[in-house]
Symmetry: C2
Subunit: 150 residues, 2 copies
């Protein structure tokens, strides 16, 4: 315990936020969105909002139907646009919608994060108490800081 004597406190602020959302708009999703917008506006930093089309969610018949996949993609795009519009109206200047496709945690960690390069990932907790599986995996595996909003 010698080192901390020399340690100086320094202001730490995030520089680029990634908010992960899904279709299940619940209280924690809204709170996570509120917190992401608050941080992005306060510190005037970019906010990416990612939603992943869970292809594993669709059954075999559905996943073979281009129409259904296309419909889901349109729904997600509309959903993201709603978030972007609201964030911009709130005062966030730089908002980027990002659509992924596949297994959410994998897509977020292996595709979106390396490309968008956030230094923090913000997620809602989609369960009353226990951590949702996507939030748990992202929290466990991310190389960046993670904020789980309840």
């Amino acid at each position: 315990m010698a080192t901390e004597e020399d340690f100086q406190v320094e202001t730490l602020q995030f520089k680029k936020l990634l908010l992960a959302v899904d279709d299940d708009d619940d209280e924690s999703s809204h709170r996570a969105f509120n917190y992401a917008c608050t941080l992005a506006k306060t510190y005037d930093i970019p906010l990416g909002i990612v939603s992943v089309l869970e292809t594993g969610d669709l059954n075999i018949y559905q996943s073979l139907s281009p129409d259904i996949v296309s419909d889901r993609r349109s729904q997600i795009a509309a959903h993201l646009n709603t978030y972007v519009t609201k964030a911009e109206a709130f005062g966030v200047k730089d908002v980027e919608p990002i659509i992924g496709e596949g297994k959410p945690a994998h897509v977020i960690l292996e595709e979106v994060v390396p490309s968008f390069k956030p230094d923090v990932i913000i997620l809602g907790n989609h369960h009353q108490r226990h951590l949702g599986s996507v939030a748990a995996e992202v929290t466990r595996e991310a190389r960046d800081s993670v904020i789980v909003i309840r």
Copy 2:
């Protein structure tokens, strides 16, 4: 996906922070401390800093020796005081050191949180990539928001 249309963005700020630290001062601990101090100073909110004497860490001979437990308690108190002094010097007005004893995640969730009543818990991630076991358990089980700093 109808509800989110009516949803209005609201500023979300935390009101009371709990930072969990341990003796393993590494880069993520320092960053977590920096972030906790930055938030507490920026928003002028109380900061609790908890460190838990892991009684499970001591072997049977040691745990029977009051001297060794007492020494460890003194070390932890000194460690916490260092943090408190640095936080105050940085400009955090309301800093409270909290010492627990037992299994860290359990003590934090079942004793410290119900008593201190934070709305967010901040922890460092004590591993290069994978989430430390205390951070993982707190993140999974907490009823409040959790920030894992890497």
